[in-house]
């Protein structure tokens, strides 16, 4: 299998200067993710699941270790890559799905969803068309497409968020509890879309409160609980 990501000895902690205190998050994590593979992060609250996702996305700066990413430009260590390279990869190869939509005033739902396509160089009309299809897939009613999501309910906002985050196929996708506040239909649409992306070869690392939703997608589980067996085969684990 083609490797997409190799994490090696990754360590993260926070130095809170005003408290003169160092707070460790996780230490010496190593695992790899292959193309089309879905890895679930497991661990108790505070075990550092979300922190790890954000570190991989470089919203957090790691303290030590390597994050070797097989980009289309060759192997690059995300832990040390220049900001501008990270920004470029985020636009083209690495996605991150959060629980919240960052809505902006006076930007319509379809425009928000079309934005990644526009940034990737799509024309306005083509991007809007694809955006509407994506919104439909996630069950956002057509009369809301041109409305501003700032006024939407949490559930509707999250659908817009997912449509946007998953509209472009990525090489690597981080999922931070995307099912929170979703209704059953939208959860179904999400799983379908994730399966599609997985079949296309997207490597995924996810944190889910209720992993049952995505059970059949999971290939492997990484337990972040300290001293846990670092990698467990999916079949061996009872969830």
């Amino acid at each position: 299998m083609t490797q997409v990501l190799e994490i090696d000895g990754l360590t993260k902690g926070f130095s809170l200067h005003h408290l003169e205190k160092d707070i460790p998050a996780f230490e010496n994590i190593s695992f790899a993710v292959a193309a089309g593979e879905f890895v679930l992060l497991k661990g108790a609250n505070g075990a550092g699941k979300s922190t790890l996702l954000r570190t991989l996305y470089r919203s957090y700066l790691p303290l030590a270790g390597e994050i070797r990413f097989h980009s289309s430009h060759g192997l690059i260590d995300l832990a040390r890559a220049a900001d501008v390279d990270i920004a470029h990869l985020r636009r083209t190869e690495i996605g991150f799905v959060t629980q919240f939509l960052t809505a902006r005033p006076r930007v319509s739902a379809e425009a928000i969803v079309a934005e990644p396509l526009r940034l990737a160089g799509w024309g306005v009309e083509a991007a809007l068309k694809a955006a509407r299809t994506a919104l439909e897939t996630f069950g956002v009613k057509p009369d809301l497409w041109a409305a501003y999501p700032t006024t939407f309910s949490g559930g509707e906002q999250q659908k817009v968020n997912l449509a946007r985050a998953l509209i472009l196929p990525q090489k690597l996708l981080m999922l931070d509890e995307p099912t929170a506040s979703l209704d059953a239909n939208a959860r179904g649409a999400l799983v379908t879309r994730l399966q599609e992306l997985k079949d296309q070869g997207t490597a995924m690392i996810g944190v889910f409160h209720h992993p049952d939703d995505v059970m059949h997608l999971i290939d492997r589980i990484v337990d972040l609980t300290p001293n846990a067996v670092p990698q467990e085969e999916r079949d061996d684990v009872a969830l």
């Binding site: 200067h17 954000r54 890559a81 006076r106």
Partner: protein, 265 residues
């Protein structure tokens, strides 16, 4: 300690803007000390810091209004080479008129308050040598429209307009000649929160539609967070930290940045 970052490997284009080792003193006060900054084409660089941190002085240097004692400034544009701080007044003026747009916090600095709004925008084209009334009129209208300025107030003088509208006129003026670089000095400070959001939204939209390289200076972290791709934190004339915007806000490293971010949240 965190890891030291590598030089860019994937992105091979040169930064559009590069400022290197600039220092500027006002008497005994060192306003800017050995500061370097860069912005890639299409990137939005945010500069945060409290009053007196030297961020506005740095921005004025980028607009060639202020020449530092030491340091260099280059813009990667055709027919432009060498340290821009060494340009003579005439070349500087032409460069600022055609390649750099600026929006000031105080609209009085950027606008002729008693001239018409469209005239304020047209002035920029006049400086660049445009002499056809019809062309001026059309270009001014288009730029104001792109800045989401209500076109029925096209010829109203800025002095009769609200603060938000005045900023839109400044913005239209700044983008009228499609500059390579847009500088924003506290563009929404002093506006009502709702108006502020609308102006920010216009800026965001313009940035996406035109891929203009922007440098935005603000003490307001919300503004920087909304617009910037990358953030530079300044304090007492020095850069204390730079990084991707989300990283600066979620995982600030320097004690001062932590203090700044925590004060906001």
């Amino acid at each position: 300690m965190t890891l030291t970052l590598d030089a860019p490997r994937i992105v091979e284009t040169r930064p559009l803007l590069e400022v290197h080792g600039v220092s500027r003193s006002y008497g005994p006060v060192k306003a800017v000390r050995n500061v370097s900054a860069h912005a890639y084409p299409g990137e939005v660089l945010g500069i945060v810091g409290e009053s007196g941190s030297g961020k506005s002085t740095l921005l004025r240097m980028m607009n060639l209004e202020e020449i530092p004692e030491t340091g260099s400034y280059t813009l990667d544009l055709p027919d432009l080479s060498g340290n821009l701080f060494e340009l003579d007044r005439f070349a500087r003026r032409m460069l600022c008129a055609t390649k750099i747009g600026i929006v000031y916090q105080n609209p009085h600095l950027g606008l002729l308050m008693k001239h018409s709004s469209s005239g304020n925008v047209a002035e920029r084209l006049l400086v660049a040598g445009e002499r056809s009334f019809a062309t001026l009129r059309q270009a001014a209208t288009e730029a104001l429209d792109a800045s989401e300025f209500p076109l029925d107030r096209l010829d109203a003088p800025p002095i009769e307009l609200s603060g938000g509208m005045q900023q839109r006129v400044q913005l239209a003026k700044a983008i009228a000649l499609e500059p390579a670089l847009l500088l924003l000095d506290e563009p929404t400070t002093g506006l009502d929160v709702s108006v502020q959001a609308l102006v920010l939204d216009t800026l965001k939209r313009l940035q996406q539609d035109r891929q203009i390289t922007m440098v935005i200076v603000s003490h307001d972290l919300g503004v920087i967070r909304t617009l910037a791709d990358r953030v530079m934190v300044m304090r007492r004339g020095e850069v204390v930290e730079t990084g991707l915007a989300d990283q600066i806000f979620q995982d600030p490293q320097h004690p001062y940045t932590q203090q700044l971010v925590h004060a906001k949240l």
